[in-house]
């Protein structure tokens, strides 16, 4: 009975999905000889971007309220360094450290959220300060690169392969390769599902959309706008920390320059995934597709071999520009229809 009306917002999401399918199909055709058609290529995109997926989910929530959080990359770097130093220099166990990292993330988000919601400071400025702070604290914790080798549990999780029992292939050496994913992928996808359910079915989730749609109306309808915003930023940093753990399981080290520019990837994934920068419209599933597109571009560029990795940045930026312009045009069309 529910018509999937092709309203402006659904169109954006549709474009995103089509774009991904086209890109991936293109890659399969062009780079078939380089193994693009193997399931593992797709799974690798998931594995390499597990952290980003979790971050993008959190970023989507913040953007839904009409705000933004550019501290996420630096927060991940801080988390990774904390984990690395904790395991290598302080001799703490990884479960304890992981819980601490989550707590740090939540507190970080709480402070940022307070400044945005109750002190009414622009989100960009607050999270810029947060970015500075976290990036600097990473260096304060330790100036040098720290590799994670000691902790058995952490290393084990990092090396775990979860096999997918189909669609394997025989590689050049004649050995059968079973496709696999890692635990981080499961965590990331779980985060996406939980956030999706939260946004759709809980009061908190709906109030996020309401606040982003029209803050004045939300207040008049009795919603606690400030509390909603506070919780959203807290959630975002918490999810970022989860992403940080995944990221660390991937890189197995802590450095001061880790995850620079990751906030950019998270934002562009969300925007490409159909989240409006003005707030109120967006879907965490779209952001997931946005991350996949991001990852596919990187893989395409790498498969080409001749193109330098900067091309991935440029293509993403062009896509971002395209989607921003599209959103702006849609908004203008809506305005003129109203009048």
């Amino acid at each position: 009975m529910k018509k999937l009306k092709l309203g402006g917002n659904n169109i954006l999401l549709a474009i995103t999905v089509i774009l991904f399918v086209v890109m991936y199909a293109g890659g399969c055709i062009i780079y078939a000889d380089k193994g693009f058609t193997h399931l593992q290529t797709f799974l690798n995109v998931l594995i390499n971007n597990a952290g980003l997926i979790a971050v993008a989910a959190g970023m989507t929530c913040v953007m839904l309220t009409g705000g933004i959080d550019i501290s996420v990359g630096s927060l991940i770097a801080m988390d990774c360094m904390f984990l690395a130093v904790g395991m290598e220099h302080w001799g703490m166990s990884s479960p304890v450290l992981m819980i601490l990292v989550l707590v740090i993330g939540a507190v970080f988000g709480l402070v940022q959220g307070y400044c945005v919601a109750y002190l009414e400071i622009q989100p960009f400025i607050v999270t810029m300060a947060g970015m500075f702070f976290a990036r600097g604290m990473t260096a304060v914790i330790c100036k040098d690169q720290v590799s994670i080798v000691s902790d058995k549990l952490f290393t084990a999780i990092s090396n775990t392969k979860i096999s997918i029992p189909f669609s394997g292939y025989v590689n050049k050496k004649g050995i059968y390769q079973t496709p696999f994913i890692r635990p981080t992928v499961i965590v990331a996808l779980l985060v996406v599902i939980l956030v999706f359910l939260m946004l759709k079915y809980t009061k908190f989730g709906r109030s996020i959309y309401a606040v982003g749609g029209n803050q004045v109306s939300a207040t008049l309808m009795g919603l606690n706008v400030k509390k909603t915003k506070l919780l959203t930023y807290t959630l975002c940093s918490l999810l970022t920390s989860i992403g940080g753990i995944c990221y660390c399981l991937n890189t197995m080290c802590g450095t001061t320059t880790q995850a620079t520019g990751l906030e950019m990837d998270a934002i562009s994934s969300s925007v490409i995934g159909g989240t409006l920068l003005t707030g109120g419209v967006g879907n965490v599933l779209g952001s997931l597709v946005g991350v996949l597109i991001n990852g596919t571009i990187s893989t395409l560029v790498k498969s080409n071999g001749k193109l330098v990795s900067s091309w991935a940045n440029i293509i993403t930026a062009i896509l971002l520009c395209f989607f921003i312009l599209l959103q702006a045009i849609f908004a203008k069309v809506k305005e003129s229809k109203k009048a």
Binding site: I68, C115, Y118, L119, E120, I121, Q122, F124, I125, V126, M128, A129, G130, M131, F132, F133, R135, G136, M137, T138, A139, V140, K143, T256, G261, M264, I267, S268, L277, T278, V308, S310, W311, N313, I314, T316, A317, I318, L320, C321, I324, L325, A328, I329, A331, K332
Partner: protein, 353 residues
Amino acid sequence: MDKVKKITKMKLFLPIFSMILVMMINVIYDIASGNPPFGFFSISVNNGILYGRLIDVLNRGSEVAILAIGMTLVVSASAGTDISVGSVMSLSGGLCCMLLAGYGVTNVSEYAVPLWVGMLAGIAIACVCGLFNGFLVAYMNIQPMVATLILWSAGRAIGLLLCNSNIVYVRVPSFQFFGAYCGIIPTPILIAAVCVAVASIVLKSTALGTYIQSVGINKKASRISGFNSAKIILLCYVICGLCAGIAGLVATCRIYSADTNNIGLNMELDAILAVALGGNSLGGGKFNLAGSIIGAYTIQAITTTLYALGVSSAQAPVFKAIVVILIVVIQSQPVKDYFKKLSAKKAGAKEAA
């Protein structure tokens, strides 16, 4: 009490107060570590050039000061920030060096094209970036921070591509001159001074300042009075791009190479901080260029002081973060309201007494 109020309300209070604070910290540190107490201020001439921590601050702060000019106008007119300036710096430096060295070449000691061609190209591409940003903000009504996000990521990448992902060295004396010394004074200081002077003259002798402030303070009233706010906002972004181009060339000449990964890295944040520290409201409206310039050098002074205190360049951002938060919290409406209430209560208590 009233005198204190009067002083704090002065336009340039915040930047000057901050600068004095930083200098005092330096003096205290010098005294504590047994150095001559005003070592911060000592200037000497060695090997035919000026030496001294003060000179260092003025020298290294040149790029931020130039950026602050453009950023001030952008913040004033559009209540937004241009976060692409750092990447645009990298892009202009990259294009300039690429042209001067020839595409694909990474090390030259003479020019492949005349110097002025390379430099002009660098500045031109920066202006084009400004035009792009300005168009999105002024005519497509996209939020400034979002519009400039595009070049923030693309600018550096394009610069890298132009230089084939290499660092291109231009070891020609006339090129290095712009980052080195003009007589005894470091050239960047002169370039920054010239930019600031030109900006001040333009603002004083044309009505540009009035136009920008008017549009920033009350767009509707400005329109009724005949201003075209879109054109003015576009112009501000182009000027900001121009400043980024100049700053980019200065940074490139300083190291006589196009290190596109590092030139201008995070400098947009320093520029925004300079504007805020200069007493300008990040919500747009009235601006004070002198404040931003003082703010720019203050930030450089903070950075230099931190290094002198043993804080590494990677750790310095923590202090910058604290400074940013302090400034914006004080400027925020709820805090202002709180202090208003307090002073109203005091006034009420005084009257009752």
